[in-house]
Symmetry: C2
Subunit: 231 residues, 2 copies
């Protein structure tokens, strides 16, 4: 190949052989040692190349069984979930935040079930708006578990949004994200550019930390919003 063959070049060649060359779906590849020899690289390098191609979903690797080209590549979409502020400012638009309402209440039943809270658990309920160039971009409907995060009760979220406050307060957590289509309800109609019943693209995110539910949020987007990615 070249004077110094890097694992990236090896990867490119492997992908080429899969997509254009002789290694059609289902092909059993030669072993790492043999391939390393053919490419003139060390087995370490060949291993890394194969591993990364495998992570891209093209290959299925198993000990003893060998490396096989997947019948259908595992197509995986990767979405970065930026803080809204970053998402908006990246487009060059001005970002503005507003708190619509804030209340400390006893968790309703559906929420208790959804978050796994104890009976009569207290939660902070927040509704916020995120604007791009003065136009409402996203409506945030958030519940925070006051037992897990007592500081949230005393936080006044009028200046700093709960999202930014949370990422700075809770170090990390397990997250479940869902994308769904919802019919616009009264709150969405009031704050976003929707008519009642319009299809709204929503992201729902539930967060745990050390097995305790921290927060559940629904992000409703303005008309025509799409979440897009390439690969």
């Amino acid at each position: 190949m070249a004077e110094t063959t890097t694992f990236r070049e090896v990867m490119a060649e492997i992908v080429a052989r899969i997509t254009e060359g002789p290694w059609g779906p289902g092909t059993l590849l030669p072993g790492e040692v043999e391939l390393a020899e053919e490419f003139g690289v060390s087995r370490t390098t060949m291993n890394r190349a194969l591993r990364e191609v495998s992570e891209q979903g093209f290959l299925d690797r198993r000990r003893k069984a060998g490396t096989r080209v997947r019948m259908a590549p595992i197509r995986q979409a990767r979405f970065e979930m930026p803080v809204v502020r970053a998402e908006i400012e990246k487009t060059g638009a001005d970002y503005r935040y507003a708190l619509v309402s804030r209340a400390v209440v006893v968790a309703p039943d559906w929420l208790r079930a959804r978050m796994g809270l104890k009976a009569r658990a207290k939660v902070v309920h927040l509704v916020c708006l995120h604007f791009a160039d003065g136009v409402a971009f996203q409506l945030e409907d958030r519940w925070i578990n006051a037992s897990a995060l007592p500081q949230a009760v005393e936080q006044d979220f009028s200046v700093v949004g709960p999202n930014e406050w949370l990422v700075a307060t809770v170090p990390f957590s397990e997250v479940e994200i869902s994308f769904l289509a919802q019919a616009a309800d009264a709150l969405m109609v009031q704050h976003l550019d929707h008519a009642l019943g319009d299809p709204v693209f929503c992201v729902e995110r539930a967060t745990w930390w050390q097995n305790a539910a921290v927060t559940l949020v629904t992000l409703a987007h303005r008309r025509g919003y799409r979440m897009t990615t390439r690969y």
Copy 2:
């Protein structure tokens, strides 16, 4: 740590130090050499551990600048986009496929613009249904560029769905995926369990191969469908 310290153990410890321990957001970590020494592993192993933690979005690594804990972890959602058949069968349900309509036509203007086709380009237009346990699960509305894929014109898609045919025919490609909410149109009302105007969760996928548009597909899902992932 243990007798043999693996890079996974090192990773776990690094993540722990970030999330619970002394390495708060913004911290500059010691260099690889120093860390390797502290953990009693080779630099190669430490490098891999740091690289993978970095890929998870916790760390920002730059030559000369060093390794720094991100202020806010890059939260990224990864969705596997299985073939519908696999998605349905994984739930234990029976899968059934049906072709609703098939036509070879001149591409309408909006499609030419969207896919970048020449004037009067021919396309194959397919509408298909995917059933789970006899209930319509997904409505597939697909356009295939006949110039890029002449074989598609003669394919009769009554038994094998276009998705499965395509993954077996076109090796790989660049893909753009969008998630969006759409109002149910007549076709969706007819085939899915929707009323006119209902919010429908749709996935739109455009595919290119060697800079030529191959196919554009919209997948409309049944009521209440969510696309979910954890991390």
